[in-house]
Amino acid sequence: MPGSVVIHPPLSDDTVDKLAIGDRVLISGVIYSARDAAHKRLVELIRENRPLPMDLAGQIIYYVGPTPPQPGMPIGAAGPTTSYRMDPYAPILIEKGLKGMIGKGARGDAVIEAMKRYRAVYFAATGGAGALISKTIKRAEVVAYEDLGTEAIRRLEVEEFPAIVVGDVRGNDLYRDGRMRYRRE
């Protein structure tokens, strides 16, 4: 996409602070997949003071449950899933150093508060563009919870993964602002 900012995780506070809603980004580097079941387990580990399968500092978690790869491919279709289901878990992960989340759909107040307080950003990828997005994922490797199948945590090496900033460290929300701009009474 023209005018996109290229970002490389792990993200520094400085990088995160500069991102604003509406910014188009291309993400290159390593991100981690996790959705409903993996979030439940990560938060249980944190509550029990046990080590996590990956260091969260500066990382981006992508809410995705991919389809199985065809032979010779690293991954199958891999678009974002709806984010609100991760809302009960996200603030705790943000407190532990998570700097970015990729998903789709609006977030609850507690997540937006945690993003402001601990400086994290929320990106949207295009829901239903699973085949297109799979082309930006060059390698995928399960790092935890293989028993969860599609819901396992995967380390994903991505190149120019397209996303848009929908929530920034100032508490702005593109879902709210975008809708107001085009609403007709």
Binding site: M1, Y175, G178
Partner: protein, 281 residues
Amino acid sequence: MGVREIPVDRITEVVRRLCIEANTILGDDVVAALETSLAIEESPVGQDVFRQLIRNADIARTEGIPLCQDTGMVVVFLEIGQDVHLTRGDLETAVNEGVRQGYRDGYLRASTLDPLTRKNFGDNTPAVIHTRIVPGDRIKVALAAKGFGSENMSQVALFPPSHGIDGIKKFVVGRVDAAGPNPCPPVVVGVGIGGTMEKAAILSKESLLRPIGHRHPNPDISQLELELLKEINNLGIGPQGLGGRITALDVHIETYPTHIGSIPVAVNLQCHSGRHKESII
């Protein structure tokens, strides 16, 4: 007319094929609606979304990669001619075997699990099967791979008759408004009006099988569809909920007679990736 024997493995074959086709080949009606929407959409971000979705459909079709990672729960509508005699097995097992093979051979995601233990079955079975017995000696198989981002945003309500048509409209538009970005707009809004609670829900699901742009044959209902479409597109939710003119690609209504004491209304939302195919045996 004599009885026509159809071995159930014919149904398995058809279901297998439809699972794979539905998940990789976006319907011509949907692609056309995305292209038309790209020309109309004013929001630059929304235009980007449409461009991505059109490219996505192209990659999925040419490379056999699923359109979306949520390859859905399978819903099968069977119309079975009353002169058909099914042989060599039972119908539901045959349908589910088709789902199992289709999801395995098409590298599709297994998403079904026990609702309480949450343990995944690993093969995306069972399907939700709706069967009607109709005149004739053929079987029509209509199959939808229903994603749950949009399913989760669906709702049934039973209103008192005093709510009237205005109440129905308020409910439908309000549901799309409340769903916002979550069901992956632009959506197709399936509305079932009448019957009982479950009948309204089934009607709303069935309405989603109708091609985009096809109107209900009853002119009053067709008019209601267009009024709802306009109101929904005035919400400003836009592609992916990021703001824009196109929130819905279409509204489909199906009706059934109901009871003097009620107006059952179901809204079943379908994401832009409306994946359904049919075949006749």
